[in-house]
């Protein structure tokens, strides 16, 4: 396969970054899950051919390279990485404060990968009571049987 080393060097592989970012965010207390959206689902479906095309032919200033997992979208525009995070949060943790923390965590993770941080937008799609782990000695819930 023919490849242009200068192009390969310019386009970082965002897939490992998105996976690590997902793990980092989900480890944050108060984040129940990353929520899939139509945008992230459709982008994930078309990701492979688009990414292949962009890594083969992409050049500065063209369509951004995108990496998507449920609730998390990274897009490379020029030298900047933009992030969109869709979250469901635990009602025991103030959602706005948690979202600010997630922005900082995302920025730190990107910088650790040597990437330049663009914008990090967070959308709170759900605030809910997270399931609590049962402790030994807690009463067993009635199964209704």
């Amino acid at each position: 396969m023919m490849s242009d080393p200068s192009v390969d060097a310019r386009v970082p592989d965002l897939d490992p970054v998105v996976e690590q970012l997902r793990s980092v965010l989900l480890a944050e207390p108060g984040l129940v899950r990353l929520e899939p959206t139509v945008r992230s689902t459709v982008q994930r479906l078309k990701l492979t051919p688009v990414a292949l095309f962009q890594q083969t032919f992409g050049a500065d200033g063209e369509e951004p390279v995108v990496s998507v997992t449920d609730g998390l979208t990274l897009s490379l525009a020029g030298t900047m990485v933009n992030v969109h995070i869709d979250v469901a949060t635990d009602v025991d943790h103030p959602a706005l404060t948690l979202s600010r923390k997630l922005q900082v965590l995302a920025a730190t993770t990107l910088e650790r990968h040597g990437l330049t941080v663009g914008t990090i937008d967070v959308t709170i799609l759900s605030i809910e009571e997270a399931p609590r782990p049962t402790r030994a000695g807690d009463p067993v819930p009635d199964g209704g049987g």
């Binding site: 479906l45 992030v83 959602a95 799609l125």
Partner: protein, 206 residues
Amino acid sequence: MAVNDHPQGDPPRHERPRLGCGRDLDEVWASIDEPPSAHEQHCEDCRSARASLQNLALITGAMRENDRVDPELQPGSRVREAIMMVARAEIRRGRRAPLSRTELGTIDISEQALTALIRFAASTLPGVRARRCSISTTGPGGTRAPSGDPVDVTDVRITLRVALPSTMRIPPAMVSLRERVGAIVRTQTSITMKQIDIVVEDLYDV
């Protein structure tokens, strides 16, 4: 759209492909959807170029249409169902309310998350059973904002319907309920609601 992309951006003007009459081919392409100009009506080069470019536009349009109906390119039923499931959930989430703009980016919340939070807040008061909750923001002049517009967080007015135990004294309960809902929403989102209407639509026996 340029018909002759240059690897390092647009080529210098003198390097662009030109017709015999001296016109830039990109200029002809740029006005391909418009009626021919006076020059184009009489210039043989321009007429020929327009005909070729129109043919190109027709062919690419036909190819796009073919792709749209080609059964080989249609999503499978599982893919379609997965997308529709997410789409239905997204519609239920409603409008967005912008909460904050930090130096890193924006933070917003879906209308559904906000109403769920309000119902949760109400239910933390013993005996209160929260039912439907709706959020309205008024546009300029008191008109309701269009449904696609973001929620105006400086003017959030809610109507919450609840059921209470028949033994509960309603006036003090309403005061506590307003305080509880207002405080929890403020803590979670920083939104200070302008109006909290509560409708006691049912009393239940205890």
